[in-house]
């Protein structure tokens, strides 16, 4: 722990700031960062304490000023752990899906029959993921939401799906008594939305492939994606309702240009990112895919919208903080 230790014994201000941040990160490591799956998959890496891995990552930056800048701004990094994800699932269902269904069916929330009415509606609802990174089975299990027999991700459906066959599945759906009760509602969940382009493609396809009302309820959305999807929904003639669970605030994003009200340490972070990007020679752009610049990760994987200094590995950048599992 050489770099962080040096700060612990330098000036008083540095010492105190280091202690507070280190204490914070160590606590978050126990309850959040240690869940990071790509690290857990590698026993040698998993055996290192998070704070030691953080220290090692800092050593990738050449300039001590950059090292301090990223150490200090790491407190703005938003990490979605397992418990966060579970709660996001619950909120997506209880705060977004069910009220939406109540609205659609004009149910009385104070009626003693509400529960059975809702169950009926839910049985005609089709919960699906937008991409395969949303673990739809986990969502269904954790929330006790009954799904349909098939739970295709609509991004894949867009490429491989056949609209006729989809329509047939929708109309032929049978209830528990064997009666034909077509699917009335489609709800799309997604774990993380960056720029919104991927999600948007799937949603557009859904609007074509499904006749009824659609609810798009992503769990975590970055600002650019939020704007994009809100726009998409407003142009759908009321067919698409967009209702995200969490929209990340500006302090979880580092944009290329400074924005008003951003944390005062962000300019030094920006510089550190640029320097790091140069040193690491990453193929991804400095501010992440589509320049989103999200300071966020989930326990399952770090999105490529986050700057590559956090997740990239190259010959000149051997130690990522949250190494990423990519797609080919």
């Amino acid at each position: 722990m050489s770099i962080i230790n040096t700060w612990s014994t330098s000036t008083i201000e540095r010492q105190n700031a280091t202690f507070k941040l280190k204490q914070l990160y160590e606590l978050q490591a126990i309850f959040l960062f240690d869940q990071y799956e790509p690290v857990l998959a590698n026993p040698a890496e998993a055996a290192m304490s998070f704070i030691n891995r953080l220290d090692r990552w800092l050593s990738c930056f050449s300039d001590p000023i950059d090292q301090w800048a990223v150490f200090r701004t790491f407190q703005y990094f938003f990490f979605v752990g397992k418990d966060e994800t579970d709660e996001l699932y619950r909120c997506a269902v209880n705060h977004k899906l069910l009220p939406w269904l109540v609205e659609q069916e004009k149910l009385d929330i104070f009626s003693p029959d509400l529960s059975s009415q809702l169950n009926d509606v839910v049985s005609q609802t089709w919960p699906c993921p937008v991409t395969d990174s949303l673990r739809i089975n986990s969502l269904l299990h954790r929330t006790n939401l009954k799904g349909q027999s098939l739970r295709p991700d609509w991004l894949s459906l867009k490429e491989l799906g056949d609209k006729d066959r989809i329509a047939k599945y929708i109309s032929n759906r049978k209830n528990s008594r064997g009666e034909i009760t077509p699917i009335k509602y489609l709800v799309l969940f997604e774990d993380f939305v960056g720029s919104g382009s991927q999600c948007g493609r799937a949603a557009k396809f859904a609007l074509e492939g499904f006749d009824g009302p659609i609810l798009l309820a992503p769990l975590v959305v970055c600002h650019p994606g939020d704007k994009y999807l809100r726009d998409l929904a407003s142009k759908s003639n009321g067919r698409l309702t967009y209702d995200p669970v969490v929209v990340l605030s500006a302090e979880c994003l580092v944009s290329e240009q400074p924005t008003i009200g951003e944390p005062s340490s962000f300019p030094s972070l920006r510089l550190a990112m640029k320097n790091g990007h140069t040193k690491g020679n990453f193929s991804d752009p400095a501010f992440g895919y589509e320049g989103v610049g999200s300071l966020a990760s989930s326990y399952s994987n770090c999105p490529n919208n986050s700057p590559p200094i956090f997740h990239g590995v190259t010959s000149t950048w051997p130690y990522p903080l949250f190494p990423r599992k990519g797609r080919a």
């Binding site: 938003f78 619950r90 209880n94 969490v246």
Partner: protein, 329 residues
């Protein structure tokens, strides 16, 4: 599958089918204290009467600085109340809640339908008031409302918290003998609870973390946790993430935990969480205790502005606790 009766005020209130309400609210230096009255102008919220709670804090620099804002807000509230008859209840911040917030003063005309707006009423008072209104047979319909703030400054929000004591009306009635489990609702300020937490970690210590929303709340809540977390948390310390506005979920979870063991509840977090804790305590047969350390002074810019939804309207949440005489939790 079911949903609990809470949500945005314009979603919930019409569904209650109650025509008119008596409103209990308070004036404050916080801008959002006028939120509910602003709302009453815009939405289907008809008021028959109102009670305005006006609390005075102990003397401090902060309190002096807050006076202009308080006066401005009181004026605005009077203006918004317009023709609606209202009474004012004045008292001190450190007074015993029972001396101020009994149904006789809060609901002097024994109205059947009551909205208790907890936005700027201190926790000690609104939790006691909620309990009294729930127990009152005269009140058949009870809705709690809460207006969200736009933002909170990055600074200490309050100071000089008194040592933690049991909230009036929420003390433990009977103990099972086993040491209680301490459940701390995380917020932004530590409020003198260090020893309580240090001692509790020998038993079982749980934290309730208001999530969602995400940052800046997320970051600041972790800051507080880092401050509060004892230097060696016991192996079974859990951090439960629960949506910051979901009072009913808090109530359900705590009721479940409280079935097998006495619980001590420490609501340092958002008011809806405090509400949920109090609701659960009321259903745990006297085995639960709600503790709180009352701050003696608050920063005048404790919060700024009123949070607005996508269409620019104030974000006000409403929780229906009683309808047509039936308790809903």
């Amino acid at each position: 599958m079911s949903i609990k009766p809470w949500g945005s005020i314009d979603w919930l209130l019409p569904r209650t089918k109650v025509e008119a309400w008596h409103l209990i609210t308070s004036s404050s230096f916080e801008e959002r204290c006028v939120g509910i009255l602003l709302c009453s102008q815009q939405v289907e919220l008809k008021l028959t009467s109102a009670t305005l709670l006006r609390l005075t804090n102990p003397p401090s620099d902060f309190w002096t600085d807050a006076q202009p804002a308080i006066n401005k807000n009181v004026e605005a509230m009077h203006a918004l109340l317009d023709q609606t008859p209202f009474n004012e209840v004045e008292g001190k911040l450190l007074a015993m809640p029972s001396s101020l917030v009994r149904p006789s003063s809060l609901n002097p005309d024994d109205c059947e339908s009551v909205i208790l707006d907890i936005t700027t009423i201190p926790k000690r008072f609104f939790l006691f008031a909620m309990q009294q209104l729930m127990r009152s047979e005269k009140v058949k319909n009870l809705v709690i409302t809460y207006t969200k703030a736009k933002e909170y400054p990055e600074a200490a929000l309050c100071e000089n918290a008194l040592p933690p004591t049991a909230l009036q009306g929420f003390a433990r009635m009977s103990a099972t003998g086993e040491s209680p489990r301490l459940i701390v609702g995380v917020g932004y300020m530590p409020l003198s609870v260090e020893e309580l937490v240090e001692q509790a970690k020998n038993v079982k210590l749980d934290f309730i973390f208001p999530f969602p929303p995400a940052s800046p709340a997320f970051r600041r809540n972790w800051d507080l946790l880092a401050m509060l977390m004892p230097t060696d948390p016991p192996r079974n310390t859990d951090i439960h993430r629960v949506h910051g506005m979901d009072a009913f979920e808090i109530c359900e979870r705590i009721k479940a935990w409280g079935e097998s063991r006495d619980v001590d509840l420490l609501p340092l977090g958002p008011k809806p969480h405090a509400l949920g804790m109090a609701m659960a305590a009321m259903r745990l047969d006297g085995h639960a205790e709600v503790l709180y350390s009352q701050p003696q002074s608050y920063r005048p810019n404790y919060s700024t502005g009123i949070a607005a939804d996508a269409s620019g309207r104030p974000q006000i949440l409403a929780y229906c606790l009683k309808l047509n005489g039936r308790d809903l939790f």
